[in-house]
Structures are given as C-alpha cells and as structure tokens.
C-alpha cells in the first residue's frame, strides 16, 4: 500500500503510523455537552466503503494527514494535511 503524502509524494505504508478515524482531529469545545464528548471519545463508525483516517508520516516529513480510502476496493482516494482541514 502506498499513500500520497501532500509534502513528500507517494510513499510506502511502512513510513506511516496509523492513528484511526479522522474524527479524532475534530475536538469538541471544552464546554460541549457530555454526549458530544462521549461520542468523540468512544463512538466510531465502521463503514464498509469510503473512510477518512488519520495517518502520521513518521519516517518522512512528520505531517499528520487525513487519508480518504475505500475499505472495499483498497483504493486510496485522497490525502490532505490535517492543518488544511476546515
């Protein structure tokens, strides 16, 4: 598997560390509802199809990136820097 790092270009999966669903980057406000925090901390979808995940380019440029990929076809659709996310 190869991931297209926005800084380094297409790189081998060995250079990356996998974190999990991209929702982890959308931290709720500190005063947010308990239910919102509960969902942020504990609840994740497990979709068959397109997913958005956080990866860390550990052995490369050390960027956190959001990779969009398809878990059915193993297609990698997109990768973008976390800091550029809206």
């Amino acid at each position: 598997m190869r991931l297209p790092c926005p800084i380094c270009g297409e790189r081998d999966r060995r250079e990356f560390y996998y974190k999990g669903a991209a929702e982890a980057a959308d931290r709720p406000a500190p005063e947010a509802d308990e239910a919102v925090w509960d969902e942020f901390l504990h609840l994740r979808d497990n979709p068959a199809g397109v997913t958005r995940d956080l990866w860390y380019h550990e052995a490369g440029c050390c960027s956190w990136i959001v990779v969009t990929r398809n878990t059915i076809t193993h297609e990698v659709l997109d990768a973008a820097l976390v800091e550029d996310q809206p």
Partner: protein, 179 residues
Amino acid sequence: MADLIAKTPLTGLLPFATSDLTCSELEFASITSVAPFRGQEEVVSEALKAQIGANFPKPGRTTGRAHARVVWSGRGQALVLGAAVEPIKGAAITDQTDAWACVALDGPGARDVLARLVPLDLRDGVFARGHAARTLIGHMHAVLMRTGPDRYGIMVFRSMARTLAHELKSAMEAVAARG
C-alpha cells in the same frame, strides 16, 4: 586537561568496497539545522544564500554543492552540511555536527544496493540528482540525497552508525554476489 582524541561516528567501520562500489564516511566540518519561523522562509533563504551561497531548499531537494550543501530534512527544517552558519534572524539555528553519521555510497549499482534497504522509488525520473528524502534505511530513520548519477549521501542518527554500516555492507555484498 587530558588531550582527547575525537572519533568520527564510523571510525573503524568504513570504508568498505566491493568491485564496483565504495561506501565511505563523509566528514563535515559542521552540520547545522536551520528552521525558519513562520512567515520568515524567504528572508531566511536570502540570508542563507548570502552566507553560504545556497538557498533554503524546497521539500525533497538539496541546494548548493559539496562542502556547502543544504538538504531538506523535514517540514520547515534543513541541514547545512560543511559550511559554518552564523545566527540568522528569523530562524532557529542548532549545531548538530556530532549528531549524525554520514555516508557516501558511490559507484555503478549504488541504486541496486539502496533498493534493498529503502522503500522509495529511486528511478532517475523520480529521484534525480539534487533530490533528497526523509525515509527509512532498513528500520532506521534517515536523510537520503542523490548527489550524482551513481552517488548518494545517507545520514542517520549517530547512535545508529554501526547498524548503518552493517546494513550497507550486507546489501553491497549481496548485490556484488549477483555479478
């Protein structure tokens, strides 16, 4: 005070050669990391150009030439190899002279040796002269740069010098054995 004898990171480990290839230690008078502060990239690049004759490199590139080379070493950071760097306003400057083990791999087939260790596409069209990468050599984090058609520079943290020499020797012997 006792007069201490400095040892380079790869003393006693290199050079090593096969019929086509040589692997030797690169010794730099100084290695300095330059990290421009946010928004200061252009100013720092100009200052670096004025000091050592080479700009701050774009991601995945080197600038300058032997003894005053600048290699991209991560986001917003580059290493100046060889030339001493005076403080630059707008950048964090750190002396890393003794922190790295640096090796030159030279000769036809150098790419075949690296292909056994590095998970990168090293073909001419993708990794050309003047290109650089943060990547893996075996299991070690490394800075890799191509400085000639058959010449590569490899840098790893000094603590990994022995492992780097071992990995390169094994790969060179394996490539040589194929004839």
